[in-house]
């Protein structure tokens, strides 16, 4: 898998051959025309980013710890730039997306398209990509990007710390790094929803693990209520374990 930096460097190199804006735009127009369209069913108001110049649709779904993006715009040049951005962001981990910058857009001479006044939805699109990355940053198998204390991230970090104190009775690795936690949602009232699984559906002490999770998270300051949803779909596999856990178990 290419890193974001590699891909960005590749794009900058690609654009270096264009000497005038006309060639650049023609290339962007080509990219825009070629870009695989967003699935019609995803082209909804929910995925719409509105600018006063043009509209952008952006959909995101997680896949094996990485984020898959699809997008569209009614403006073809905007679509060409989206296609460049997706080359960079698509199929990357949330942490890498959060760490990436958009400097390459300036390096290829398209900075003006990202100025807030262009109002073409691109700036909001990048923000939305990063929001998705933040949202999915806690998903299993994903090395977490450090929270910045905003958007309830501080609380989520505390919850993760607490979860790391809960161990699977059969494996000497905590439930978080084992990848048993599928989702953590904390609302403004301090109600926390945790979606989790166990290594095997017929685990004899399932209730005990759930009770431990409940107890550990309840102790986090700011948490008022904990609701644990135990699911076995999708099924847990060793792929969901963090690097640390694999190392711990001598799997690496």
């Amino acid at each position: 898998m290419n890193t974001i930096q590699d891909i960005q460097a590749g794009i900058v190199e690609e654009f270096a051959v264009f000497t005038d804006w006309m060639d650049k735009y023609e290339y962007l127009i080509e990219l825009g025309k070629e870009m695989p369209l967003i699935d019609e069913k995803d082209k909804t108001d929910e995925h719409l980013i509105k600018g006063c110049q043009s509209r952008v649709w952006l959909a995101c779904r997680p896949e094996n710890g990485r984020l898959r993006f699809s997008a569209d715009s009614d403006a073809i040049i905007t679509k060409g730039i989206i296609s460049l951005l997706l080359k960079v962001y698509d199929n990357q981990t949330p942490a890498d997306i959060l760490a990436a910058d958009e400097d390459f857009i300036g390096q290829i001479g398209l900075k003006e398209n990202l100025s807030p006044t262009r109002a073409n939805g691109l700036v909001s699109m990048i923000e939305t990509v990063k929001q998705y990355a933040k949202h999915y940053a806690g998903m299993p198998g994903e090395a977490r990007h450090d929270g910045d204390g905003k958007d309830g991230k501080g609380l989520e970090d505390e919850i993760i710390l607490a979860l790391r104190q809960v161990y699977d009775p059969e494996i000497p690795v905590n439930v978080y790094d084992l990848g048993l936690i599928y989702d953590i949602q904390a609302d403004a009232d301090g109600v926390v929803f945790i979606k989790m699984t166990l290594t095997a559906p017929n685990c004899p002490i399932a209730d005990e693990v759930v009770a431990q999770v409940q107890e550990a998270v309840s102790d986090v300051p700011g948490v008022k209520e904990v609701q644990v949803d135990l699911v076995f779909e999708p099924e847990w596999t060793t792929d969901r374990m963090s690097e640390e856990a694999k190392l711990e178990l001598g799997m690496l």
């Binding site: 127009i29 006063c52 110049q53 509209r55 009614d74 403006a75 073809i76």
Partner: protein, 408 residues
Amino acid sequence: METRPLFPALDRQIYGKPLIYFDNAATAQRPRSVLELQQRMSVEANGNIHRAVHRLSAYATELYEAGREAVRRFINAPARENVVFTSGTTASINLVASCFSQRYLAPGDRILLSEAEHHSNLVSWQLACERHGASLEVLPVDEDGELSLPELDRRLQAAEGRIKLVALTHISNVLGVVNPVREIVETAHRHAVPVLLDGAQGIVHAPVDVQALNCDFYVFSGHKIYAPTGIGVLYGKRKWLDAMPPYMGGGEMIETVTFEKTTYAPLPLKFEAGTQNYVAAACMAPALELAQRMAEDEGLQAAQRTMRDYLLAELTKIDGLRLYGTPRKAERKIPLFSFTVEGAFAGDLAQILDKMGIAVRSGHMCAEPLLRRYGQTSMLRASLAPYNTLAECEAFMASLRRAINMLR
């Protein structure tokens, strides 16, 4: 009359190409006379108006009031009391929407406006309606962008006195069609309903005599008629301005102040709280003086008609191009053209034209309901001023064709 040397901004290169400025409906370029006064006042007359006795303040006040007098003359208002300075068209409309509504709008009442309004003349009324439990009554435009007078009459009749004000655009910033404002005012007045005209474009392209029009309010901005930004005008009939409560409280709008009660300054200062943009207001004088001269110049007017007819003819030759605002009589169309092109999105065209040194507007143009009426979310608009030339129109057409080819 030679206009181009008067406007230094026109003599510029954009990306190494001569600037073709076709976004005049958004803001017009400023002549030297305005730029010089701006500069001179900042140095020689920067003292706060109406307040102090010192020389700088007196000089600034003189120039400020001269700006008002120039406006009064330009629109033939009966007296200086009828001319209130604001920060622009939007502020003028908001003032009326706030103060008129406070006095006259009750639950169940309505404000009538058209489908072709700029958001300024729409959202301000929406806010006022929300505050007072009133609602909007929307007069449609037809395919050509025309309002129907019989329909206006019918709506006013059917409303049985619940429509408290008609707020319509003189010339839509998208359609460029001169509405029959005199007839609109007559129709509304037959039903005893006052009329506010949004003159943001009208003041530039149509002769405005508020007494002949007999409208109750006429509002416009300075920056579209060669003055600086940040200055606008609210013309109002005395009876309304007197009856309306003040808009903002502050300095300069008062007569006497005690903690128990404040009495307000006489018109127009009653509506001019706080330090005004006196430099920009003063600049209305040279700006309107030039506007007047250009309007009276036969050669310039003929050249404008030639450009309009040329663009109308050339644009309609382009395959898949749809023009919005096409009155049966070309005389009622100002040199402002909003259009869409099949297979070439407006935002893309504007971006490519920009690289060719051509400034045009694209997007929803602050008139989303109107664009929706035509099934569009974005249009391209070329809007001309008297300083544009036929050669620029020809260059524009060639560039537009090239841009369309790139996208198709």
